[in-house]
Amino acid sequence: MQIFFINNDGAGFADTIDVPEGTTIETLFAEKLPGRRAEDYLIRVDRQPVAREQVLTPGCRVSITPTKIAGAKIAKASITAGDCILH
């Protein structure tokens, strides 16, 4: 069966993928993010939180988003007088 899978870890890849009938969210997570801990991610099926044993249904939308995403301090660089310290 086909499901719509969104992986917001890294590139934020969204695509329709094939999974075997009866696949649970736990199985899918282990396959797509091997070695990661499920508690470090927000896992949603059809935009709702789910239990790990939830069985996926054809056409469902699964999204996985890390709970911690590091921000930074520069959006777009620009050189202005205020940014500069002259020595």
Binding site: D9, G12, A72, I74
Partner: protein
Amino acid sequence: MRIKHNWRKDRSLRLAILIHHALQNRRFHRRYYQLQNLIDSMQSLKKQRTRLEIAAENQWHLAHRHLQQSVNWELTNAAEYLRLAQIEQQQNRHPPVVLSARQIHQELLALHNEFEAVQIQTRPWRIAVTTEPIELEQIHLGRFRVELQVPQLLTGHYDSEAFQIVALDPNPAASNEDVPHPHVRGELLCSGEATVPLGNALKEGRLLDAFVLIQRVLQTYNSHSAYVNLESWSGESCEDCGEEMDSDDAYTCERCQNRLCGDCMSSCASCDGCYCRRCLRRSNDDELLCERCRGVCRDCGAIALASELEEHDGRCHACHQTLTEAGAAAVTALVPTQSIGETS
């Protein structure tokens, strides 16, 4: 009886239709769009290299450091786009598909499950959600309103610039009132690791994912790249190098009153006063002197201790020595002449 839905009165549905049509017409839904992302990223790097060169030539150290960090992030993005472009080529993957208007409408409705308050405003179109109170490293930063400026999105801003982040219970950094969160300056979030997934979510109309990504960045602290580190949130920043510092460890320049960190503070070799480097001058004897302790030789213009100049009638030791020797030579030259005259 079937009730006809009046979509014109349903604000979220109207917005969903608007976003769907706008996104569908954008160029990134053509093939090779990851390749195009990579090219855009490389062009951005090219511009930033020019800026880096300008900053280096002019010795704008702080700007140079900021630009280096910006280049690092862009390199990370470029690497990600390169990886995706390779996948795109190898798998002949179809370009992403924009969600249907109905799906975008569902995304908008789902925001209510994820956030405390959701508002959709018109003229200009704006989607605003309110986060729960955010506390990082035991510092209370309060709630934030995350606003997606739809006109920005529709004009091709598929990044954090499409969002305004407004602190509702502001507790800004003491050193910079413009920083209400370690990764927000003004009302702009630097999305860091969320940049690429955020861009993809916005391009595809996955608004719920976009807002959740912003929320996760706001709830994460990256001490390696913060506008102001939480360790010195209630402190201040050095006016020379821009580094944050604890107020208790700060120095004040006795001349210009600038606040300085220990690394940027210097002292006068004569009076031992505390000064910034701009208020000190290096003497010809290679000593840093303050304005009160230094003077300029009336003959050669050399910088020297004022007390030494006074001692030598406003001249430095070397000029005084030269003058003394010249005087002595003149006297010596004069004395033999008189002696010869007397003899003859």
